[in-house]
Amino acid sequence: MDDLDRRLINRLQLGLPLVREPWQQIAQELHSRPCEVLDRLHDLLEDGVLTRFGPMFDIERLGGAFTLAALAVPEARFDAVAEQLNALPQVAHNYRRDHRWNMWFVLACATEAELAATLSRIEALTGLAVLNLPKEQTYHVGLYFPV
């Protein structure tokens, strides 16, 4: 990654203008050319530095049901339980955290009923009690990672 890549990433985190030729404006701001910027973006996606580029639909406004949940998994079973969870299409993220509640995951489902069924399914599959922590209030959402 060079300086142009970094400036491009930082700029695109703020959003692409909604116009027919958006890369003209981005290239101008970055003192580059549209084709150069497009090549860079393509490479960053290819290399896995970026995982997606596009509109970020607010899934909750589109309907659907979500929650953050945790399991306290015995150490010896940790990898096996991680595999069980990751095989479920409803599991969007899954992180290990250094805490007694050591497995933290986000469930994204189409309906509340599917969410409840998925939570029960996880308890049945793993034999562990799920700590279900759906959000009650959002105070701030604004991921920005200066690079």
């Binding site: 990433i9 985190q13 703020l14 959003g15 692409l16 909604l18 116009v19 027919r20 030729e21 958006p22 890369w23 549209p34 497009l38 973006l41 393509h42 896995g48 530095v49 970026l50 995982t51 997606r52 580029f53 596009g54 509109p55 970020m56 639909f57 607010d58 899934i59 406004r61 589109l62 979500f66 929650t67 953050l68 991680a82 969870l85 409803q90 969007a92 993220h93 899954n94 992180y95 290990r96 955290r97 805490h99 933290w104 995951f105 986000v106 469930l107 994204a108 700590l131 279900n132 922590l133 759906p134 959000k135 009650e136 209030q137 105070y139 701030h140 959402v141 920005y144 990672f145 690079v147």
Partner: protein
């Protein structure tokens, strides 16, 4: 006056956008061709979705680990119910706090009701940042814990959109 997209075309457009915006000079022309519409219709629809708050921006999802953001801390606090909105709003505005949510307590297993995500490149720096944040907001006396993530197993953001994950899917 630009003719709005038909319902079918709208669904097709959403479908096309699941994998992201085409990385080409005129992405909306490309999309318009795929759904049998004019680029002005596609842009109008995008603007409308944006105005309705269905998406905040045409932006990107970083593989933040690949970029060195490997210290990802979830700060959880036990805030008295009467204060949680006020504290949540203050912490949510603080620099470095990427996400801030209220979640239910689950007593006796779980007492914490306010969740903040703080990402950084080094664990010690994130710890210092959080300590400074708590001191500054006079919250150091509240029960709290820091849960650092040590491994990410899955980060696909769900079937409806990207993450969080960040987003956008943060449960």
């Amino acid at each position: 006056m630009i003719t709005p997209l038909s319902h079918e075309q709208m669904l097709d457009l959403r479908q096309c956008l699941e994998s992201g915006l085409p990385i080409v000079a005129r992405p909306y022309d490309d999309l318009a061709e795929r759904i049998g519409a004019h680029h002005d219709q596609v842009l109008q629809q995008m603007q409308q979705w944006h105005d309705q708050g269905l998406f905040r921006r045409v932006g990107l999802v970083l593989n933040h680990r690949a970029l060195g953001y490997v210290a990802n801390a979830m700060l959880v606090l036990d805030v008295p119910d009467a204060l949680v909105d006020e504290v949540g709003q203050r912490l949510g505005r603080a620099p470095g706090v990427n996400l801030c949510y209220q979640r239910p307590r689950r007593l006796p297993q779980w007492r914490y009701n306010l969740f903040c995500m703080v990402h950084g490149r080094e664990r010690s720096a994130v710890e210092a940042q959080i300590q400074a944040l708590l001191d500054q907001h006079m919250l150091s006396d509240l029960p709290y814990q820091l849960l650092f993530s040590t491994r990410a197993f899955k980060q696909c953001g769900g079937r409806f959109a990207p993450p969080p994950s960040q987003v956008w899917a943060h449960g």
